[in-house]
C-alpha cells in the first residue's frame, strides 16, 4: 500500500500485469525511453526491454492495426494513443476491425487489446488535446469503454481490462492524472468492468458522472446541499459501456431525478443515451425532467476552457433546479 496518483497507479498496474503475464506488451509513440508524454509508462522500458515496450512510428492506424494482429496471435497488447484527440487515424481499425472480429468470425477470433488514451480538458490543450470521444465508441457495437475517476479504480479497472478478452477503450482523465492521491495496493487486484459505484448517497437527485467530472459532481453535490439543502446521490460510472444500468435505475427510482454530467459535446453525447435508458426502464419515476450538464456543441476552446467544461458552477444550479422542479 501507498499513496499513489493516477499516473503512478496505472504505471503500477502495467508493471504488475507485465510481470504476471509476458504476453502483455505496451506500444505507442514515445512510450519507451521517455515513458510517455505523461510519464505513465515510465520505467517499463528499462524493466521489460524494447521488445515489450515499443516506441512506434508516428501512425495511430499502424499502432492499433498491429496491436490487433498481436492480439489475434494471442498477445495482450496495450497500445497507447498519445491523446484521445489523435485516435481518429486508428478509427477504422477500431470500428471496422477490433469491434467486429469476434462477431464476424463467429467467435473464432478475438481481440484482447486495451487501448489506453488520455481524455478530457483541464490542461489548456485547446481543440486537439482535450477531447472526450467516448460516445463514438459506445455507438460501435463490440467495444468496451472504461473511464476511471481515481487511482484505485484506474489500477483495478486496467488490470481487469487487460485480462478481458474483448477490446477495451481505456480513457484516462488527464486532469486527474496528478491531481488526486490515494491509497493504492501495490499488489495486484481488479475492479470489475461493468459496475458503477454510488460514491455519495443522497435522496433528492441522482447525478451520474465519470472521470474528471466526478469530482465536480461531488463538489457540486456538497454545494447544493449547503446552498439549497438538496441531497444528491452521486454515481461514478467507471465503466461506460456496457453500462451498469441497474445502479442508476435503482437510484432514480429513489430520487425521481437525474442529472448526467460529461465533458463531451451534448449532441449525441453519452448523456442522452443514459437518460433514455433510464426512461425506458423507469419513466414513471421521473419527478422532474432529466437534465444534461455537458460541454457545449462546439470544438473544445483554449482561453475559455473553464467556460466550456461542465464544472461545479454549472452542476450546482442543475441539481437545485432539478430537485425543486
Amino acid at each position: 500500500m501507498g499513496q499513489m496518483n493516477m499516473v503512478q497507479a496505472i504505471n503500477s498496474c502495467l508493471r504488475s500485469e507485465m510481470t504476471r503475464n509476458e504476453d502483455v506488451i505496451v506500444l505507442g509513440e514515445d512510450v519507451g525511453k521517455v515513458g510517455g508524454v505523461f510519464r505513465v509508462t515510465q520505467g517499463l522500458y528499462e524493466e521489460f526491454g524494447e521488445d515489450r515496450v515499443i516506441d512506434t512510428p508516428l501512425a495511430e492506424g499502424g499502432i492499433v492495426g498491429a496491436a490487433i494482429g498481436m492480439a489475434l496471435y494471442g498477445l495482450r497488447p496495450v497500445p497507447e494513443i498519445q491523446f484521445a484527440d489523435f485516435i481518429y487515424p486508428a478509427f477504422d481499425q477500431l470500428v471496422s476491425e477490433a469491434a467486429k472480429y469476434r462477431y464476424r468470425s463467429g467467435g473464432e477470433y478475438t481481440v484482447p487489446m486495451v487501448v489506453r488514451t488520455p481524455v478530457g480538458g483541464g490542461i489548456r490543450g485547446g481543440h486537439y488535446h482535450s477531447q472526450s470521444p467516448e460516445s463514438l465508441f459506445i455507438h460501435t457495437a463490440g467495444l468496451k469503454v472504461v473511464c476511471p475517476s481515481n487511482p484505485f479504480d484506474a489500477k483495478g479497472l486496467l488490470a481487469a481490462a487487460i485480462r478481458d478478452d474483448d477490446p477495451v477503450l481505456f480513457f484516462e482523465p488527464k486532469r486527474v492524472y496528478r491531481a488526486v492521491k490515494m491509497e493504492v495496493p501495490s499488489s495486484d487486484y481488479t475492479v470489475p468492468i461493468g459496475q458503477a459505484k454510488v460514491v455519495r448517497a443522497g435522496t433528492d437527485v441522482t447525478v451520474v458522472a465519470w472521470g474528471a467530472m466526478l469530482f465536480e459532481a461531488l463538489a457540486a453535490a456538497d454545494e447544493a446541499q449547503a446552498q439549497g439543502e438538496v441531497s444528491s446521490e452521486v454515481i461514478d460510472l467507471r465503466t461506460l459501456w456496457p453500462i451498469d444500468i441497474d445502479t442508476i435505475v435503482e437510484s432514480v427510482k429513489k430520487t425521481g431525478r437525474l442529472v448526467v454530467v460529461h465533458e463531451a459535446p451534448k449532441a449525441c453525447g453519452f448523456g442522452a443515451e443514459i437518460i433514455q435508458l433510464v426512461t425506458e426502464k423507469a419513466f414513471l419515476h421521473f419527478e422532474a425532467p432529466p437534465v444534461r450538464v455537458t460541454g457545449w456543441d462546439t470544438p473544445f476552446p483554449y482561453t475559455l476552457e473553464n467556460e466550456y467544461l461542465p464544472l461545479k458552477h454549472r452542476i450546482v444550479p442543475a441539481l437545485i433546479e432539478t430537485a425543486r422542479f
Binding site: A59, G69, Y103, G106, E108
Partner: protein
C-alpha cells in the same frame, strides 16, 4: 480445353508491365532450370488441380448468383496462379491474411468446400452464422484470417501477428494478400513502414490485377511499378509474373525463407489480370475494352501451368475430364446441402458481440425473439 502441346504466351502485358518480370514457364511449357522451383510431380499436379477447382467454383458461383441463389460473389478468374501458388509456397505453419479473392487459398489448405458454401449461403451451419456477406469466411484452424470488406485493414494486422510470433521467438511468417488498389490505402503505408522498421516476417502479396473496380493501376500510383514501392520502406521488392505458377511459387518461397531467417519483410508484386468483373455486382464492359481481356486470356495461368504439366508428361485430357467431373460432383452435393440448411436462428444476431452477452443485448434478443416477424427474410 486442348491437352495437345501448345504455345501459351508469357503474360501479355501492356507496355507498363513489359520489363523485368520474373518468369519461369516458357511458352512451350519448359522452364529455365536456374529459376525453376523444382516442385515434385505431386505438388505441381496438386497445385494445378487446385487452380482448376478454384476456377470451376468461381464459374459456378457466378451462375448461382445470376440465378439469385447466392447473394454475391467476388471471384478470382485469371488470378488462380498468383493466389494458389503463393498459398502453396507458404508453409502450413505460416498464416494467411486474406483480402477477399482468396477462397482458393483457404480451400487449398484443406478447408472443406461444404464449409465455404455454407458461408456463401449464410446458413445456420456457416461458421460466421450468416452475419457477413458471402465470401467473408474465416479459417483459424487453417491458419487463415477473417475476411472483412474494408480495403487494406488486413495489412497492419498481418504485420502485428507476425511481430507477435517474432516476439515469442516462434517461426511464423504471415502472407498478406491485397490488390493494386490497396497500395493507395493508409493501411499499406502503415503496414509496410512498421514491417520495415521492426523487420517483421511478413510477405506482402500484391495481386496487381490491373484494376480496382473501374480504376486502372496507373491511376493508383505514378511510381514505375508496385514492387519499387518497397524501397521507401527499406525492404526488397520483387516483380513476379503472377500468371506463372512456378515463378510465383519460387518468388514467394524465397521471401518466406528470408522472413523465417529473420531478414525481414518482402514486397512481391504479382503481375496478373482480373479476367472477370470486380464482383458479381460489376459489369467491366463499362470501363475496359474486350481486346485487353482477350490479350490476357491468352496467357491464362491455368493454361500456362497445364502446358508445363503436359511438357513434363504429368497431365492429359482424360485426367482433366476426371478431375472436372469430380469437382462437379462435389460442388453439386455441397450446394444442395448448403441450400437445404436453415437460416441461422435469431439468437445468432445477439451473440459474439462481446465475450459474455451484456444485459442490453439479452433484452434486445428477447424483444426480437418475442416480436412480430418481418414480412420477408433473405436466404
Amino acid at each position: 480445353m486442348q491437352a495437345e502441346k501448345q504455345v501459351v504466351p508469357i503474360c501479355t502485358p501492356d507496355s507498363a508491365y513489359a520489363e523485368d518480370v520474373f518468369t519461369v514457364i516458357q511458352e512451350d511449357g519448359s522452364t529455365d532450370a536456374a529459376k525453376d522451383p523444382k516442385l515434385t510431380d505431386e505438388t505441381v499436379v496438386e497445385l494445378y488441380q487446385a487452380m482448376v477447382r478454384t476456377r470451376a467454383i468461381d464459374l459456378r458461383l457466378e451462375k448461382l448468383q445470376r440465378q439469385g441463389r447466392v447473394g454475391f460473389h467476388v471471384g478470382s478468374l485469371g488470378e488462380e496462379a498468383c493466389i494458389l501458388a503463393s498459398a502453396a509456397a507458404l508453409r502450413p505453419t505460416d498464416w494467411i491474411f486474406p483480402c477477399y479473392r482468396e477462397f482458393g487459398a483457404l480451400l487449398y489448405r484443406g478447408f472443406p468446400l461444404q464449409a465455404y458454401l455454407d458461408n456463401m449461403y449464410g446458413n445456420a451451419v456457416d461458421q460466421v452464422q450468416g452475419r457477413q456477406m458471402p465470401d467473408h469466411y474465416t479459417g483459424k484452424a487453417y491458419h487463415f484470417g477473417s475476411v472483412s470488406s474494408p480495403i487494406g485493414t488486413q495489412l497492419t494486422q498481418a504485420v502485428g501477428f507476425a511481430w507477435a510470433a517474432k516476439l515469442k521467438a516462434q517461426d511464423v511468417v504471415t502472407g498478406v494478400y491485397f490488390g493494386d488498389g490497396a497500395t493507395s490505402s493508409s493501411e499499406f503505408h502503415c503496414a509496410m513502414n512498421f514491417a520495415g522498421v521492426f523487420k517483421i516476417p511478413t510477405v506482402f502479396l500484391c495481386r496487381n490485377n490491373r484494376w480496382a473496380i473501374s480504376v486502372p493501376a496507373e491511376r493508383q500510383t505514378a511510381s514505375k511499378d508496385f514492387a519499387s514501392k518497397a524501397e521507401a520502406y527499406g525492404m526488397p521488392g520483387v516483380r513476379c509474373d503472377g500468371n506463372d505458377a512456378l515463378a510465383t511459387y519460387r518468388t514467394v518461397r524465397e521471401a518466406v525463407e528470408r522472413a523465417a531467417r529473420g531478414e525481414g519483410p518482402t514486397l512481391i508484386e504479382l503481375v496478373t489480370y482480373r479476367m472477370g468483373g470486380h464482383s458479381t455486382s460489376d459489369d467491366p464492359r463499362a470501363y475496359r475494352v474486350d481486346q485487353e481481356v482477350e490479350g490476357w486470356q491468352q496467357s491464362d495461368p491455368i493454361l500456362r501451368l497445364r502446358t508445363h504439366l503436359v511438357h513434363r508428361g504429368l497431365w492429359d485430357d482424360a485426367q482433366e475430364e476426371t478431375w472436372q467431373s469430380q469437382i462437379e460432383t462435389e460442388l453439386k452435393s455441397c450446394i444442395e446441402q448448403a441450400e437445404a440448411r436453415p437460416k441461422p436462428p435469431i439468437a445468432s444476431l445477439f451473440h459474439d458481440v462481446l465475450e459474455r452477452q451484456p444485459w442490453h443485448l439479452k433484452e434486445q434478443q428477447e424483444a426480437c425473439e418475442a416480436g412480430p416477424r418481418p414480412e420477408a427474410n433473405h436466404g
